[in-house]
Symmetry: D2
Subunit: 330 residues, 4 copies
């Protein structure tokens, strides 16, 4: 596709007419404060010039807006936290919000240990209809309170576009989970919301499909997207999923968006979480998600993979040392 | 879980009190005209008896309602077509509805060749935001008209719960696609609708997860569910996906619901569709989906895998001969 | 690569000189009673002509000799049995040879039921060093005796080139198993032996790699090769492996060699074997392998997937009906 | 299985008699200077005691000798290099030996940069019979010369038991490649040789199968085994294979043997090698293999994934910094 970046305040009408005159199709997107026109097919659109255009880029990837063929690395701000820069951002918290004490304690503990974001699930997509489905809006309120008390911005997963109003004001970043990574309706709706998005890779999705899911968000005008590898489905079952470190690196080399990893879900067992977190950071993750619970064995979901406060503190020490060794902060 | 089947018209209150008295949890479901109570944990619930109960079944699968531990094979009626019986039901039609002529012609052609259901996509979940996204409600109207003229019940995919009102009256069966196979919100909403459901397996989902997705539908009271294998993600890329015939057979041996296959998507290429369709039927598929287009090379989506009318007619001859050889009709 | 087919009795020296003069590389192979010269790179070799050449074929596949770009379907004869023709060849027998009575009884039973080949393992590649490793040469002798008494040619697996002398005279067809599918030394040695070969696909190999393993055999001059799909490694674990019917069809469309399937190993459980066998035959398998044991529950290996005599007889009835319906014999 | 560790110099005859008297089976192994008797089934063998026994361990894994249920971490010495200790051992060199200058230059360069072992391929297992198959014994001689001049022990792959005599004296460590990971005949023969072994994981093998392949070596008396993860086959094809960091960690937690990784093969492209190497080291790899070539673009095999000398030097700096940060040396 051909990406036209317009001059500030320029009127795109003439450009569109010129595209129409060569039978090209286009899509207009407002992104990162810029007016953009994506046009195709290439052989027609490439010939078009217009005085409204600052720059014209021929993109070769199926995800032109998410690709780094036209833009330097994007920094995504969540509250006062910047993702995609020198700092390795650690988002920590319980898999599911269970009660006030649990979230408040956990937020305090992860803050003390050095986490930058507080993450917890209020709406839980569960494989079985008989599993705990989350506290819903009540959970979002508890997260907000716990995050505010600890001084941490809050990340939580949305599973239904109709819940989006409930997230406003209570959440600083929306997560789209692996099972909804190709729920394109949800992507479109979240793309129209001003909140930053943490977009997980689907367990059966290629890197290209993952970036195309990000493209759905960007093409709706939301460029505040952080990609998150969380393990893919492979024949190996001694881990819950296979953390695809290589895929994460390919994504980082293909997009201007920050890319991180969730080592907790592929681990599936506490004793693997440290090693996988360190691997992700060493390979360049801009963000890592770690599940932490005051008493993992009593957790209502994913009890096997959540860390205790002590174990998380130890992990943060290890991540900090490693981040410095590779020229990053934490 | 323990499944209590109640006497017709019986009052479940006393049973619930007895379950409460042993600290068991339960869920009440109305399914197949029966009142059911699912209760757990087993060690508590198993001890409970009540005069309201006709039958008490200890289920061992995580999907008690979908499992065949309590029920003989279910027949799902779609219009005048019965799925799950002796007949191998062929659902055919274009990947996407494009215009009236296309759907009307195709419906006539597949009807003449012996198809039992007309299937076409009005709302298309596409990997790329720049691909044709379907005609939406207008497409549903065209499908209805084409199906009515040909005398075929209509199947079409729903991708957003908010679109469900548009499907009422226009569609005889709802399809839930592979990418939404774990969109649990959509499953819950479709579970509350009276329409039969064709539930595809997610490309990264195990057989057990697929049956758990069906359980979402059943636990909301919709038992008119047909499962559909459509290929899983594997390392082999000479086919678009790997049709998991073995997984389909395992599903058939595990559930009372009809189980079918979509050989078109895993094939990804026309010349493989015949062989995969025959394989699915030979392995016991209750339904097969075949994509047919008047002019596949001009199709707006999946042009590589749609059959011409001639090729479909030939396939129907082959499927008919095979079905008879294994003691089924078409 | 460019494939030169030479006139009968022609002297290839001049052709080689011409190839040398344009800096092309070549390999000389004697196959199917023909003298062949494979030469590359294409841009040089394509220009060469010579009076010794009957036909010059530009092959586009990485496996020129195995591809069907130059040759019609090959029939492989094993004793009096022809593989690759109208007949669906069933090779049956125990996973492992255990004792004389077992093999003799099984050979008689599978013969009576209509099997064309008797197959049993004397050298067993086992995942664990503590599992039964087979009877070795003694097992080959028992197979021979049982096959002769029943009037069935014998197929058995070779795992080490140094064992090849023991197979001579005792076996009519050599099997190369999935774990040795890329044991290129073994392939080269077996390629130099006159016996027909049943080449299984490796559980982690693509269709292309599988055909390249066949190419090793053909490029050593052995063209009597039958390919056998036996299930690949995928995330699905409700079956032992995933029978890749689509991959088998792609292989059949790419090679002149017969292509078959082993439904027993991917099934891993007796109750799946019938359905997978029928699927393979419906999709066009030229050969199917079925494991049969007089008393499967006492078998020393793979006891879960071997059929009883009764079950095998029933399967043969079903396969026969199906084969006729698709225009084949058994 | 029950593992009996015998007193030094003790006579095992009485123990064997006692095992026989309870109908237990056993296997005698001499490993790490110890006399061991493995006996099964557990319910019989566990009852047996004997004065010759120092220690009796009930192992629960299918790979009793490789498991860490009975032994602390093993250090494997290759020349003067110890694998499995505090040091992260880097084995570097070209994918294939091509000529003397290439190997001598590369050995010098990797030595200067800090590599501990020199690795190169003389016998190359290639997917295609038409690819460069290696220089064979001549290659081994060149490796020896280059290693000696640089002062580095030499590692090279063996693909055929009949080649083992050629390796004696020329190689300090034998590699068993991914494609031979379940070539059990080769494993048995290599198990009887005194040389240390670098055992790669098969691309389609589970962690358990990989450890069972090691068990083949150990059960033949060779305990000097280093395991090496090298990427598994998954649906993701933007990398050549998927480096299974999680599987490597599981292996390290399951065995007393050192465990390393080969990041070059899964990367498949130079620009991914750094990140994957750092990930492997961060996750605890005892050894990493890096392919280095004086002029990668002209390499006769795997040219896409070999590093230049400069890139390797930079990688060593990064690995060194990282190793220190996690409490290891290089």
């Amino acid at each position: 596709m051909i990406l036209f970046i317009l001059k500030e305040g320029a009127d795109p009408r003439e450009l569109k007419e010129r595209l129409a005159s060569v039978s090209a199709s286009w899509k207009e997107v407002s992104l990162y404060g810029m007016s953009l026109i994506l046009a195709w097919p290439d052989e027609y659109a490439a010939k078009v010039s217009d005085q409204s255009v600052v720059s014209k880029v021929k993109t070769t990837k199926p995800y032109p807006l998410a690709s780094n063929e036209w833009k330097e690395k994007t920094l995504v701000e969540v509250g006062n936290v910047e993702i995609g820069g020198k700092r390795v951002v650690v988002a920590a918290g319980p898999c599911a919000v269970e009660d006030e004490q649990q979230v408040v304690e956990t937020a305090q503990a992860v803050k003390r240990a050095g986490a930058a974001l507080f993450r917890g699930g209020a709406y839980k997509p569960r494989t079985s209809p008989y599993s705990f489905q989350g506290l819903g809006e009540e959970g979002l309120k508890l997260l907000r309170r716990a995050g505010d008390e600890a001084g941490l911005p809050v990340v939580s997963e949305v599973v239904d576009p109709r819940d989006l109003p409930a997230f406003k004001g209570k959440t600083d970043m929306l997560q789209i989970g692996a099972r909804n990574a190709q729920n394109f309706q949800l992507l479109k709706d979240v793309g129209r919301i001003g909140l930053p998005v943490l977009l997980k890779r689907g367990m059966g999705n290629t890197v290209e499909e993952w970036l195309l899911s990000a493209e759905y968000l960007l093409s709706e005008g939301n460029g505040r997207v952080v990609l998150c590898e969380r393990g893919i489905r492979t024949f190996e079952r001694s881990t819950r999923f296979t953390l695809d470190v290589g895929g994460m690196v390919v994504a980082r080399q293909s997009t201007h968006l920050p890319v991180g990893a969730d080592p907790s879900h592929p681990a599936g067992r506490r004793e693997l979480v440290h090693a996988l977190t360190l691997a992700a950071v060493a390979a360049g993750a801009d963000l890592v998600i770690v599940e932490v619970h005051p008493n993992p064995e009593r957790a209502k979901s994913d009890s096997e993979q959540q860390l205790t406060f002590d174990s998380f503190r130890l992990l943060m020490n290890r991540v900090t040392a490693l981040a410095k060794a590779i020229g990053r902060d934490i």
